[in-house]
């Protein structure tokens, strides 16, 4: 039996993939270079700006936003002040700013790509049937697998980090956009149609506003996923808090690892609560 299995030579899967990637990187290298350089400049610019803000001002700003976003409750605001001060105090401020930049870029790109795909899915059952398994596949894949194509296309640094994060963080926004639009009550869709709305009018005036809070829930998840991926992306040279965790890990420095890890948790809690309360605000 095993002879029969052995009689078939190893299928050249790895080679094939490699060839495809070579071809891709070869033929599109100007594009990849452009994205790599442009992205890097843009992100360094944003990080530079963030770092230039005096930490006190920054902390108070976040606290103020938290205060108003949570309907004038003090909880999150106080947590933000204490938490951000802790990060500053531990000398991880610049790393935090790097992480913020990465998360912002990755999330925004994921949202810009994800919402239209979600809309497409909600409008076409064929598109849904094709995209859904792809999303399932993407979500079962361990995050660091995305680092491989990222490195192949862009080398190492922030840009491949963002690239991998975008892919990793994309599914929730797509799914929730699709779900939100499909959940709009049938009678309201009929109302929109019966008054002679065009497809765009229906989408913009009825469906998206009604799907808003569902889409926001997806965006919240996307932001958190992109944060977790940004940490993993430190393996390919993305800067930020993740890199601190990674280096502590490599050197078995439990104390440093704990400090950086706790900083990440603090930051994650702040952005989670912030995006969630933005969602609740109107409804």
């Amino acid at each position: 039996m095993s002879k029969m299995l052995d009689s078939i030579p190893t299928l050249p899967v790895a080679d094939t993939v490699e060839n495809v990637m070579d071809w891709l990187t070869g033929s599109f290298s100007p594009l990849f270079d452009f994205v790599q350089n442009g992205g890097k400049t843009a992100m360094e610019f944003i990080t530079g700006m963030l770092v230039a803000i005096p930490p006190v001002v920054f902390i108070l700003m976040i606290a103020l936003i938290a205060f108003f976003a949570t309907k004038r409750k003090f909880g999150l605001a106080i947590f933000s002040i204490v938490g951000l001060f802790y990060i500053y105090n531990q000398g991880l401020w610049d790393e935090l700013m790097n992480t913020i930049t990465l998360v912002i870029f990755a999330s925004i790109i994921a949202i810009i790509i994800g919402i239209p795909i979600g809309i497409l899915m909600s409008k076409s059952s064929v598109a849904e049937a094709i995209i859904k398994p792809i999303l399932d596949f993407m979500q079962t894949m361990p995050g660091f697998v995305y680092l491989i194509p990222a490195v192949a296309f862009f080398g190492i640094g922030v840009v491949p980090g963002v690239f991998a994060s975008v892919i990793f963080a994309l599914p929730p926004t797509v799914r929730f956009t699709n779900l939100g639009i499909r959940q709009v009550p049938k009678e309201l869709v009929e109302a929109a149609d019966s008054y002679g709305s065009t497809g765009w009018q229906k989408l913009l005036k009825v469906e998206l506003p009604l799907a808003r809070s569902t889409i926001m829930a997806g965006i919240n998840q996307t932001v958190l996923l992109s944060l977790s991926m940004v940490v993993i992306a430190s393996m390919i040279g993305a800067p930020g808090l993740g890199r601190e965790v990674l280096s502590a890990l490599q050197r078995a420095q439990v104390g440093n690892g704990f400090v950086a890890g706790l900083s990440l948790v603090v930051f994650a809690i702040i952005i989670d609560r912030l995006t969630q309360s933005l969602n609740k605000k109107k409804s």
């Binding site: 009678e187 309201l188 009929e190 109302a191 929109a192 149609d193 019966s194 008054y195 002679g196 709305s197 065009t198 009018q201 005036k205 009825v206 506003p209 009604l210 808003r212």
Partner: protein, 399 residues
């Protein structure tokens, strides 16, 4: 003048349409067709015309295809075959743009659950039709405010639908439709979600409106009373087919009995007539005071042959018949108790009529209606049937 003309319109949901069509022609039932082909008959071979300024009511059991039929009229659902003419133009042959124009300018729809957009204010909801037509902001605002004013809702224009009562929400739904100034109103069970009092009010308003602006209205309901009250003509549907079209009078006098029963099965249980609506005043004899002679005297006076027996507290005790009373009187008895009969069924006054129909048709005697043991009325077969047909005229109400 003919406003809407529906010719041989059929709508079948699902696949295997030709198979399903063949089976319908073989007079197979809807469920049988569904089992065999997986296709559902929505509407089959509908034919009718609606004249300008008419209120045309479509009624039938749940699932009989009313909603489907009305949605075929504005092409929210596409016909499988047949033609629908609006002002002489066949909408099943129109392209998207022409259809939108018809929907925007000629017909507006009012929905059972109001179909208001929750994130828009009352005013913004009312403006919706004008907005998608691209009417300038100022103008559409004026028109919408006027429509709201007519509905008496102008003060609420900045509220959200969820802040209004059901009746008010449906007035907004109607105002939104009228703001467009359409020729045709499509109303799918527009008043079914409202409580009876508000519902009657809305029916009146619709009739007033009809007097004033002469819209052509397609009104769907499964409530016979509502249909009779507002419909110029009524079409009855069953399993996707229109089985009768006529004025209320024609429909009632023609095959009345069977149909009345069918409607009853259909009617939303919570909103149907109760026993109280159909009962009449009982002619009574008091077993603690009255003797056979008084009873006979009262029977002559009221021209009845049966009296319902009660005690001083109006508790129901049974009934006596004229024959028995006559004999007892001859024997010189002083009390009616000796020939009191107790085999008359009783029902509580708030029971639904549809639930006592079986009892009514089986019981040889009338049925006593009680409320906490006190006699409050009596159900008589003929009167019940009549009241189902004409409750709105108030003929049978007798306190």
């Amino acid at each position: 003048m003919e406003k809407i003309k529906v010719q041989h319109v059929t709508k079948i949901f699902g696949k295997h349409i030709t198979n399903a069509l063949k089976l319908v022609e073989e007079k197979k039932s809807k469920t049988e067709i569904l089992e065999k082909t997986g296709a559902t008959i929505g509407v089959y071979d509908a034919n009718f015309t609606v004249n300008e300024g008419e209120i045309f009511v479509i009624m039938g059991l749940s699932g009989s295809g009313k909603s489907t039929l009305v949605r075929l009229l504005n092409n929210l659902i596409e016909t499988t075959s047949g033609s629908i003419y609006i002002d002489g133009e066949d909408i099943s042959k129109m392209n998207k743009q022409q259809l939108r124009k018809i929907r925007r300018e000629k017909m507006s729809m009012v929905f059972q659950n109001f179909g208001l957009f929750p994130q828009r204010t009352v005013l913004a909801n009312t403006e919706y039709g004008l907005e998608v037509r691209g009417i300038p902001k100022e103008e559409r605002r004026l028109k919408a405010e006027k429509a709201l004013d007519n509905a008496g809702l102008l003060p609420y224009k900045d509220q959200y639908p969820s802040q209004l009562s059901g009746g008010m929400q449906q007035r907004v739904g109607l105002a939104r439709a009228l703001a467009n100034d359409p020729d045709i109103l499509l109303m799918d069970e527009a008043f079914s979600a409202l409580d009876p009092l508000i519902r009657k009010e809305m029916q009146d308003e619709l009739l007033d409106l009809q007097q004033k602006v002469k819209k052509t209205i397609i009104f769907i309901t499964h409530d016979l009373n509502e249909a009779l009250r507002i419909g110029d003509r009524i079409a009855l549907m069953k399993d996707g087919k229109i089985i009768q079209i006529g004025t209320g009078e024609e429909i009632l006098t023609n095959p009345a009995n069977d149909y009345v029963k069918t409607f009853l099965e259909d009617v939303d249980r919570s909103k149907v007539l109760t026993v109280e609506n159909a009962m009449i005043r009982p002619i009574t004899v008091n077993i603690e005071l009255d003797g056979p002679k008084v009873a006979l005297q009262r029977m002559r006076e009221e021209e009845v042959s049966v009296l319902l027996a009660i005690d001083k507290k109006r508790a129901f005790k049974g009934y006596i018949t004229a024959d028995d009373a006559l004999e007892a009187a001859k024997r010189g008895e002083k009390s009616v108790v000796s020939f009191l009969k107790t085999d008359m069924p009783t029902v509580p006054k708030d029971m639904l009529i549809q639930d006592v129909l079986g009892l009514i048709s089986e019981s040889p005697t009338p049925i006593a209606v009680v409320n906490e043991n006190k006699l409050v009325g009596v159900l008589i077969r003929g009167v019940v049937i009549q009241s189902l047909a004409s409750e709105t005229e108030g003929v049978t109400k007798d306190e």
